[in-house]
């Protein structure tokens, strides 16, 4: 079966991964601890959704992949919600509405979709690697934003940075700026700037989604 171009992008291109996971990455990267919580949740969703989509692939036909995949992710989010509420209420509060919104995560869905037609071990490994990559980026963003925006790291104040805060980094625009520099750094390291436009990545998901509906 011809693989989805977007899924390939997700696995091979960290910039594509960042684009798909941009929402939660930006929303919960204002500090190291929220970033850690969000990345742990994403990792859980990535691994479990890949596993479940792969396991129930007989029940989820190619035509229902979009709907089946999203429902599986929503179910996992509900489970995570209940578990966090019961055992880690602090984390539940910290994630807020973004916990629910993980059910509509492009990143999680793309990786789960890709795992449908792959070997179990391979799909698990891939989701784990994508999750760890996302975690690394989120932690870097969280550390940078917290250090520059709030003058602390993991809620531990650092006197020099506290007296030289740049408040914009704690705000929405600071999230965009930090992610821009992270992706530019990745582009620089990969030496392939601008070869993958965001449009092509999203649009290929669109075409895949249309195929799934049919």
């Amino acid at each position: 079966m011809e693989e989805n171009r977007l899924s390939q992008t997700v696995a091979l291109d960290p910039t594509g991964l960042l684009l798909l996971g941009a929402g939660p990455a930006l929303a919960r990267s204002y500090g190291l601890i929220p970033a850690l919580c969000m990345s742990a949740l994403t990792l859980f969703l990535l691994v479990c959704s890949s596993l479940l989509v792969r396991t129930f692939r007989g029940l989820i036909g190619q035509g229902q992949l979009l709907y089946g995949g999203i429902l599986i992710i929503a179910g996992l989010v509900s489970i995570a919600e209940l578990l966090l509420q019961a055992f880690l209420p602090g984390v539940f509060e910290l994630l807020g509405v973004y916990l629910n919104l993980s059910a509509a995560s492009l990143l999680v869905f793309s990786v789960a979709e890709r795992s449908r037609d792959r070997a179990l071990r391979l799909s698990l490994l891939e989701s784990l690697l994508v999750g760890l990559g996302f975690t690394a980026v989120l932690l870097v963003m969280g550390a940078v934003r917290e250090l520059l925006g709030s003058g602390s790291i993991g809620q531990t104040s650092l006197s020099f940075f506290e007296s030289h805060k740049i408040p914009i980094f704690a705000q929405a625009s600071g999230g965009f700026i930090t992610l821009a520099f992270v992706t530019a750094l990745i582009n620089r390291l990969k030496g392939k700037a601008g070869t993958n436009s965001p449009d092509s990545k999203i649009e290929s998901l669109d075409s895949e989604a249309e195929e799934s509906v049919k």
């Binding site: 910039t15 960042l18 684009l19 798909l20 996971g21 941009a22 929402g23 939660p24 930006l26 929303a27 979009l66 709907y67 999203i70 429902l71 929503a74 179910g75 989010v77 509900s78 919600e81 209940l82 509405v97 629910n100 919104l101 059910a103 509509a104 995560s105 492009l106 869905f109 914009i168 929405a172 625009s173 600071g174 999230g175 965009f176 700026i177 992610l179 821009a180 520099f181 992706t183 530019a184 750094l185 582009n187 620089r188 700037a193 601008g194 070869t195 993958n196 436009s197 965001p198 449009d199 990545k201 999203i202 649009e203 998901l205 669109d206 989604a209 249309e210 799934s212 509906v213 049919k214």
Partner: protein, 187 residues
């Protein structure tokens, strides 16, 4: 509800509480779909339309079913199921009306977090039915505004000289930062 309240609810969704640019909700769609103004406007309108329909359904479901039965913990799953049904039906209807089976970008809206966020926010914000619909209208218009603003800026970027490492996503994110700063003036 006075005219002032109505205006406040809508404008706060459009400017102050813009999902994509101040809360990063649905930002992937804004970054990825704003290359062409026509497509950006289409996507923005489609999201606003689906968001409104979903909001009309989810509010009564929450109040008369989930709250009554004490199964609020099923909210995410039920809301996502409603979104999927709405997206499927809207896609079918529009495809038939357009006379083609090629589909549209409606299925992608199921993965737009703004739709789910609006549904969740409407019930957690304690809004009445009418207030919830006005808030959803504001969110939808805010998303459309973000798409159009961003697509306009990207058209300009296409003709600008951008350092190699910043081409593509990084420059788009920096553009989003500037738009977010502009919207920050309303907060």
């Amino acid at each position: 509800m006075s005219f002032r309240d109505i205006l406040l609810l809508i404008l706060s969704g459009v400017f102050v509480n813009n999902y994509a640019l101040t809360r990063f909700i649905g930002v992937s769609h804004v970054l990825g779909f704003s290359g062409q103004t026509g497509k950006a406007a289409g996507m923005g309108l489609a999201v606003a339309f689906v968001l409104q329909l979903v909001s009309i359904i989810t509010w009564p479901v929450q109040v008369f079913v989930l709250d009554k039965l004490g199964i609020e913990y099923m909210q995410t799953l039920i809301f996502v199921a409603i979104i999927l049904v709405v997206v499927y039906l809207v896609d079918r209807i529009f495809s038939k009306a357009a006379g083609n089976d090629e589909g549209s970008f409606f299925p992608l809206i199921a993965l737009n977090a703004a739709v789910l966020a609006a549904a969740v926010d409407n019930v957690s914000g304690g809004y009445g039915f009418l207030q919830a619909q006005l808030a959803a209208l504001g969110v939808g218009l805010g998303f459309l505004l973000a798409m159009l603003l961003f697509s306009g800026l990207r058209c300009r970027i296409d003709y600008a000289h951008v350092p190699k490492s910043f081409q593509g996503l990084p420059i788009n994110l920096l553009t989003a930062a500037i738009v977010a700063m502009a919207l920050g003036a309303f907060i």
